[in-house]
Assembly symmetry: C2
Homo-oligomer: 324 residues x 2
Amino acid sequence: MTNEREKTLQKIAEVLRSAASVLIFPHIRMDGDSLGSAVALARALRAAGKQAWILVAEDIPNNLHFMEGGLSTRDSKVIEQPDVCIAVDCSDAERIEDRKEAFARGKTTVVIDHHVTFDAFAEINLSDGQAAATGELVFELLKHMAAPIDRPIAEALYAAIVTDTGNFQYSNTSAKTHRITAELYASGIDHTAVVVEIYQNVRPQKILLLGAALNDIQMVADGKIALVQVTKEMFRQTGALISESEGIVEMLRSMRGVEVAAVLKEDNDKVRVGLRSKAAVDVAEIAALFGGGGHQGAAGFSSSDDIETTAVRLIEALKKSLLG
Amino acid sequence: MTNEREKTLQKIAEVLRSAASVLIFPHIRMDGDSLGSAVALARALRAAGKQAWILVAEDIPNNLHFMEGGLSTRDSKVIEQPDVCIAVDCSDAERIEDRKEAFARGKTTVVIDHHVTFDAFAEINLSDGQAAATGELVFELLKHMAAPIDRPIAEALYAAIVTDTGNFQYSNTSAKTHRITAELYASGIDHTAVVVEIYQNVRPQKILLLGAALNDIQMVADGKIALVQVTKEMFRQTGALISESEGIVEMLRSMRGVEVAAVLKEDNDKVRVGLRSKAAVDVAEIAALFGGGGHQGAAGFSSSDDIETTAVRLIEALKKSLLG
């Protein structure tokens, strides 16, 4: 595997080195890892005198805008026939969605990803489930390409790693993550500035929603279950978007004594449910009961029942699981 | 300086190597860095066959209890006359408060610290304002002592670094911080378990207080100032302690457009005020106007006015500063 991995990295490096034009594809609903990896690649390729663009089909999220640097475009014809099309942080072709055709126009297609489940959809596929972020793999790729890592490249890779590891807290973080980060510091990154852009740029509406949600916590089963129902009314009153309810469930889990946290959100005619656990409960199993899925510690599902009914059924299932 | 620093580290290593008994002093209101550094030292010294204890005068904070391992005592006579008394993470003697007498009983006294302002109060003093945590210095000290860094030692040092850098986000974090952390991983730390203990162990009352506070945000000066008044009534209703209002001010600052965040807390007959800024305002200057102090980005003061009056005066001062 390791040998295979090195060979594939080497091959991708060679393909990129001999290319004159490269089109880069971050995944839909792009995050820091996806965009950071794309930006680092685009900058390195341009610095080597190549034509390089990041093809997107949506707005750059506000807190990631600082690194975009005019490298992205929505024009799929920005390069008529790219020598290489490379998808970053994409576990399957659905992650590039409407840009699949544009991707296929590449004379060579490549994908670099770090998800555990991976559907090889390009000609050259690198997937390393051990990497904490695709940014780690791009760092290695740039080394293979002997591409200089200047400050903007290092800051994009730092943003990629920081966002995909939850500030080095998630279990995917490794010694390698920290070694790479130490090397990024050597390129003169202003890590505080990056942190301010990424984390201190929250829409006030999101903070208001957090306040409303935390004011309405249900504690069940002697405080082992913490649950919040985020209603349409809360979204309306705070002006927050459904995506801005992220983070509430982790806040609930952080409470002492809580084994499982659940956040139920009213989204049109569905109820979307996020689950997080410490150790006692496998929330992927719970989510599966409701037709959803995920990991032992983080899972979710959608329900067509109303939010109250969903809460009652969920609490019942969680209690059963807690009692063993 | 660097040479001086190395010599001092070497000297402390020698003093500890030749000691048979060592008493270790974390600072009052101990935090992860202070206790983590003390635990790592105590474990390494015991592993080398020495008598070693951590002398405390207060309860171990609940979220740090996991690493204590029976190494701490309140009995200042646990070692009659220690060969070495060593204070960790203490910038001056006031930080060991009532344990000063016990400290002075050491045949040799040592202090290791990383604060920028430092009052050398021992015979051998090591202060390195460049270090992100005293845990970094203890890591280096153990290397100088050729002490093996086993998993419990590595986890204590990891806890020290993580808490004093705010998960590697604060500006004190350096390439060295990440290099040391990578080495701690090599000792087999379970970083996820440490993170759960430290951060997912919050009293529910604190989360309830956060909810109440975020439900009552005042936005002033076109959203450049975010302010919350945490009243006695809120503390009563949520059951939270005054210390559990920490973190609210950072949450306010995280909002897009906010340049200064202020949290005012009613504490007996005082109002305690915490200030945080992004870049536009020097909050240390503002705090100084009210008899307080701090840094450019984080400062505070106490007021004898009531909370409403304090808010009005503060907002006035902040507006003046924002207008330049």
